[in-house]
Amino acid sequence: MIELKNVTKYFRTNQGKRYILKDVTLSIPDGNIGILGRNGAGKSTLMRMLGRIEFPTHGKISSPHSFSWPLGLGGGFVGSMTGRQNVKFVCNVYGIPYEKRREIVQSVYDFSELGDYFDMPIKTYSSGMKGRLGFGLSLAFDFDYMLIDETLSVGDARFRQKAKNALRKKIETCHVLLVSHDMKTLQELCKTGLLVHDGKLHFFEDINEAINKYRQINQTKGQS
């Protein structure tokens, strides 16, 4: 259960306040949730708020569950450190004991398929490589919810398939909040849907309903 109580979020811009959420009160039942919305609607901001690195302007978001850090393209690494050092660092932040840490480093090394790059500074990585490392790392932890922002689209087709399979296996034991523009992925992995639109948050019991609504919005916007 994720509860939003009178949540308002806006950013100050040159043209005044830009609202992402406007006084939203909503209870979201647990499950695998797909998040939809047009570019700039606030999907990523919502993810960052759930990951507690962005905060509502007013109101409160509460949940008894643990959330992963928001997995996006490339964030969360220190450029001057190698992939291995970054993985160790994150393990240390989470207080992982030495033995377990070694296992995690090995599993991330195997999963990310970075080879020699694993021991090279992150700043030499392409964004796809960073995404692979980040995704592999997040799989090694046990959260109640994984916050995934478009990371499934990194790498080549084969790696994408591998990532999807790994995630499918992972969500047998946890839930996922997934931002994606790929409707097929959303349908495959998510049961329910959240639509971010015009400062409002709409919850749909069925992801297909959410997708239909999202398409509707896109069409009307296209016509006007």
């Binding site: 905060f55 969360g76 690494f77 450190m81 660092f89 240390n92 207080g95």
Partner: protein
């Protein structure tokens, strides 16, 4: 995932950050590492040489000049190190605030610990060299008070450093200004001279500089021939408590904005 106690999280994060900073510090190349530890030796050699040239062998001080400068430079470098490490502390760690456990203040605490750690190694280096060369009078006259002086200096530097870190996040030019000011303070803080050797009309303005009080305190308790007559503990306390509370107040208000970048 099980819930961890806030203190446990804090210690895990500071430990992780410390290991990370240590790693970047030690992998910046041999020259950088060499400079970190031998900077005070160069400073002392330079100022001893200057001293000899200017005074041409005249003895104006009764105390051991090398011990005086060693303690002065180590203390001042610690202050300056903490200050300059604070400037970029938030910005350099922006990428890892994505992990909600990592709070901006952790990065300051970590850098203060690292600078302190480096100072301790330098002190040990000095003492080892002194023991090998059988240099006399290297130990402080009042060990407890010198230690208190150093600890107080660290808290003072951290308070100012936190202010600088917050300020330079929102106004980057503050960072440059602090760099210049801290360099000028090297000459105004009684690092390589004792206040008692200066004429009163210079003493009065210099006494407004809080760092000078710290240097006079450490020197006074370190060197038997020197006293702490000019040290104003109230003034030092004011310069510690006001920045400390101001920085914490600002930090609590601005933490979320710093995290969200």
């Amino acid at each position: 995932m099980t819930l961890r106690h806030p203190f446990k999280i804090f210690f895990a994060v500071v430990r992780a950050l410390f290991l990370r900073e240590l790693n970047t510090r030690f992998s910046q190349g041999r020259l950088g590492l060499f400079w970190t530890f031998f900077q005070p030796f160069f400073q002392i050699a330079l100022f001893v040489a200057l001293h000899a040239v200017i005074l041409q062998g005249q003895q104006i001080s009764t105390y051991d000049y090398i011990v005086f400068m060693a303690s002065g430079f180590i203390a001042f470098n610690l202050f300056r190190g903490i200050l300059s490490a604070s400037i970029g502390a938030f910005d350099a760690n922006k990428g890892i605030f994505i992990y909600k456990q990592v709070k901006p203040i952790d990065t300051i605490i970590t850098r203060v610990l690292l600078e302190t750690f480096i100072s301790i190694i330098i002190i040990i280096l000095f003492l080892v060299i002194a023991l090998f060369t059988q240099y006399p009078n290297v130990f402080p006259e009042n060990f407890a008070m010198v230690t208190i002086g150093f600890l107080w200096l660290i808290i003072f530097s951290m308070s100012i450093g936190t202010l600088v870190a917050i300020g330079s996040t929102f106004f980057p030019s503050i960072g440059k200004l602090v760099g210049i000011v801290s360099f000028m303070l090297l000459f105004a803080s009684g690092v390589f001279y004792s206040l008692e050797n200066l004429p009163p009309e210079i003493q009065t303005p210099l006494l407004y500089n809080p760092v000078l009080h710290f240097m006079e305190m450490i020197h006074g308790f370190y060197i038997p021939e020197l006293s702490t007559q000019y040290v104003n503990y109230r003034y030092m306390l004011a310069w510690t408590i006001i920045p400390l509370f101001l920085s914490l107040w600002l930090y609590v208000r601005l933490e979320k904005r710093i995290v969200s970048g």
